[in-house]
Symmetry: D2
Subunit: 381 residues, 4 copies
């Protein structure tokens, strides 16, 4: 895949081009982010990141948890660097070369929260770093699981057991103000969201193609209600394409001199996507129906029931092996554990959709629309 | 408003620039459309049109109805022009200067259907032309009905009682092949759909502003579920803007030499819109709630209960008159007869959404997506 | 109609049978409610009621508004009765014989809120009582507006300008504890909700019949997607019938000796209804489409264009007059101001659906379901 | 589970009580069904069944497929019984004791379709009978997969390779008329649908309990939008309970003397269920969010990272092991392959929802509703 990598690489690129933001607060943080970007770019490294503190008690801040070292934080600073203890969830792609730890949620400026305010990066292979992974969804058979066998990214909780982060890998420290605005101020969020929208477009196109093939294979493509569902997917793809084109047509140099897509369509894309993405699995289920269950495993191909398989699983348009291969792909998108995790991922990629809506509502400039309404209300005609 | 007018004017412009399409089949139809466009443009005329045959029996064609002269058709041709008898529905804006009668639904090439194959335009004030209108939704009070009092377009059935259409106003006649493709071949559909999308964007922005003001007036803007609903409207607006920007960024000269927006985003817009437009009224109702009923008519303002009105209808943010004015506007969008007709209009502007989906499904180039799926299915890894 | 009346009559009946609840706190409130019920029953009176305080500032209680006499409250008590000043919204059916004023929202027990704690009833014709009504939706033509011409209930704000309520019409006074639980403790809420569910069933059945006729008239009843939409309405009706049957099969004597329907299905009905009721108008619009606009007013029937009307508005199944009559009814349900107000009414009949959900969530006994889950989690197999 | 078994056992019970329907067409089919029911009941046997012909070409009947022996059919009849060749899909629960093969889709009475008209039952262990199964979703760990490890029913295609069905196990043969109406005429469909509704109620209650526990564990139960979603599940459960209660309150002796639930609520239940069942997985995903991914496998419990697990995966309300156990259950309902298959199963249990809607539309007695509308249309007031 490499999608997650592209996503973070674009963020590091934006941050490096905004290196002045990181400043030089006793140490050369601007230089650190800049050198880190070059290192990643020149070595073509794959990155992951981890944003959220463990969910022990959502009602209080990290310093008020049962143990103040549950959320990853600074233990001490010494001449070599910073010692980190505690955990972060949810690192996708723990097989990456590098792991970035950046602030995501807002940290207050009080002394209690200071030790949690840090941004850094480390090789994922750093000695002592632990990743506790979920069950793997992969498979040895690309016939049975055409996606899971190739693309299971894994998800993990990362545990820092007094891990040393060398100073040259520290980008922000004990600086809640900068920490809270790093993504917006550097436009990293714009590049991340743009890249995410590209991924979403690719996915919507792929699933629209898949739904078309499934419908055609079983002769369901002639029914208006089936066509309507595939069109829902095509419109989802075209909406995302519209946002991308619009953001690119409106690109401009940002304050750091970097050509940056227009954020309005891109921020709209990332708010629309979790509302529509779940349709992908739903449409495949609606079209594939019970055919998604009649898919025997690969071992049948080389077994003595192969002649039965060839006879009874053929379709009008394709031989049994081909037909089952297609339906297994549909199942891997719409129904397998891999597919279920994909659905979850798309619903929550940028966080809770309700909170995202509130943030979008606050951010969006509604004043011109209010004015238009007020003008009508007081028109003299 | 003038929206319907803009919409049709852009269609005539596209047709005139594609005048070769109309050809010179014994008479100078190319010249007719060209001159008609100039006439409309120079005199800044307002157009309406009428597309659909009366719905007497949907199961059979116009020549098989109880009376072959129910659908408007040619009675005879003479040296002055063509005599037309029968009706067409649904002409919106019968107060226009001109009425265009163009083919919309497919006509077969058989002899029976020949008399129904014609495209022409006439002044709406042509003697003998009858418009049977629905009940008017307008109002004398712009306080009580801020929209209906100004913008009720009316809808009518048009009846041709042996009306003469002079030859210079005929653009197509007894030519089913051209008739069936006139909108696509001239790109008139692209300009009409582009203009419709601009209207939809303006409407979505306006209603988003209105919903924001209603929520703020009653202090409901602080609730995440209310914010989420306004965001649904904002995303609807941004989707339409994305399609417009995308179609303009991808504009190219068409075969007739006219700079033409990219049709893919625009055709997507006109298919997405009827799926989302009904949210406008729904969100206003959900936010305004019973406040949409507590809106006494204008006569109360000058009556002896005015002091009661001022005391009991005020809100935290505004005086009674202002608050009620705002809620009456919301009602005129979401609940009045005018609003109900608007909702219907947006659902069916381009026709039945299910048939539109089927047409979009057939038209959309799904092959690249199919290919991408097939490549994955046969990857050797 | 009489629906609102039945609804309140059943509430008064429940309260009278629970007369001990009202007690004898210096005056015979139990006797008052009992005599009032007999009076209403014997004279077959039509009741309305009004529940909500004016929405001036939702953030603070009635005593903290700009004027403490905005919400209706006690001014003084004397030997004849209680003097009331202030307003209540939203009284539906102000043409009723009697108006009931009962507490709806929770009142705290502090001294400030005392004057707002009262329940009483008065003849709607009481001298000095003012109703400020919204615009009327009625019509002189039952052809043009088959529902609005007969059934517009009106909605009003009621203003008490130092109105005397005689002691025998007072049921509760300065008694927040009883006031806050009167509906639940007397089971009035069960009877009101049961009656409301009966109304909802009748409405769903009627609209299902109407949608069927509209579909048949234009030959759309053969399309699976149209059938699916009518079935949505039929299932809505059957759900309501299931709740009613279930509540009646589970009826039992309540603590006051009154045979009372089971509240669980009935409380479920009143929470499900606002989620599904909006489908009624939507389905009619989806099926009726542009046919809902081609409906000329009654005056056309007696005009010189009547022959045109008869010719062009006929359908396969019915003559023009009959067809238009049917479509006008559909419009009066789905699109006219009357219909728009009906839709709003059904969405908010028992209050804001989000708050209702929260109350239902808190009230519902979820413990047996939790237990079932816990048992599975700790099964030893 | 035994659910599928209960479902079929009730069908056999209904058929046996309607044994006269099967008649005595040369052989004692009435006796066969009667004896079969007693055999199943006395030996407490688990049944499965298989209804659908393979989907090779949906456009033509079984005799017109590439091979007339793709769909299971009669090869020959002899003194011992009937020889069957061909396949049937989709047998759920192939580990059952017995497999029933009954007609499901309509068979025309022509000679070509005769060989496909048969109803019989056989031990699933009959020599030569082949089941080709899908991939198993089960698991060795009831911690990791609390449902899949216990309840994966499997789904299979059944192949008859010249299998002898003894005459006493044949219930219908070469009798398309009876075959096409066996489910309705014997009321087997009523009992099957009633039992399915009971299953659906149990499921909805269970998932509502699970969603409640997940919300409480992470402190999300305080948010109105979360409460609203759990209420959606509770209302789904209460709707099903209303249908069941209603069908039982309306039970009557059928024509065969068997006390039979009222079919109207039960047929409504089976049409409503596929519309609402998908909410179960959706709500769990919406509430559980990324917590559904932070669930390491059982092996972590006994590993050296156990202390880390205990520290970082605890929640405010429960220890790590307990919390993860709960979330794994939610995942097994909402996201795992087992959960994905459950979602598919509930969507298609009784067949394609669109076709079911069409059948329900045709079956439902809409005439009383039509009449009510017509009465209003012609009221003289």
């Amino acid at each position: 895949m490499g999608r997650t990598a592209d996503y973070l690489n674009s963020a590091v690129m934006a941050m490096a081009s905004a290196k002045e933001f990181f400043g030089n607060n006793g140490r050369d943080y601007a230089g650190n982010i800049s050198k880190y970007y070059e290192y990643v770019r020149e070595n073509d490294l794959l990155l992951t990141h981890t944003l959220i503190n463990p969910q022990v008690n959502r009602g209080v801040g990290p310093s008020k948890q049962p143990d103040p070292f549950i959320a990853a934080r600074i233990v001490e600073k010494n001449s070599e660097g910073v010692i980190i203890r505690g955990a972060r969830m949810l690192a996708t792609l723990p097989i990456a070369d590098e792991i970035m730890v950046f602030p995501s949620t807002v940290i207050r400026s009080g002394q209690d929260d200071m030790p949690y305010s840090i941004a850094f990066a480390l090789p994922a292979s750093t000695k002592g770093l632990k990743f506790i992974c979920r069950e793997s969804f992969t498979s040895d058979s690309s016939y049975d699981h055409p996606l899971a066998s190739r693309f299971d990214e894994q998800d993990a909780v990362v545990i820092f057991d007094d891990i040393l982060v060398p100073w040259e890998r520290v980008f922000l420290i004990e600086d809640p103000d900068r920490a809270n605005k790093v993504n917006e101020a550097t436009d990293a969020i714009v590049f991340m969201a743009h890249q995410a929208t590209v991924r979403e477009l690719a996915k919507a196109e792929f699933v629209a193609g898949l739904a078309t093939l499934v419908a055609e294979t079983i002769g369901a493509d002639q029914f208006p209600n089936v066509q309507e569902k595939v069109v829902d997917l095509l419109l989802m793809a075209e909406s995302m394409r519209g946002f991308i084109n619009s953001s690119e047509a409106g690109a401009r140099l940002n304050r750091w001199g970097l050509m940056t897509p227009d954020y309005v369509p891109i921020n709209s894309a990332r708010n629309l996507w979790p509302r529509v993405a779940p349709m992908m699995a739903v449409v495949l289920k609606q079209i594939g129906a019970s055919g998604l269950m009649a898919i025997p495993p690969e071992e049948v191909l080389g077994s003595k029931v192969r002649p039965d398989f060839d006879k009874y699983y053929q379709s009008k348009l394709s031989e049994a092996e081909e037909r089952v291969r297609l339906f297994k792909l549909a199942w891997d998108v719409a129904g397998s554990s891999f597919g279920g995790r994909q659905d979850l991922y798309e619903r929550f990629f940028f966080g809770d959709p309700v909170r995202m809506s509130s943030a979008y509502y606050a951010w969006y400039d509604k004043e011109p629309y209010r004015q238009r309404v007020k003008e009508l209300l007081h028109r003299k005609d």
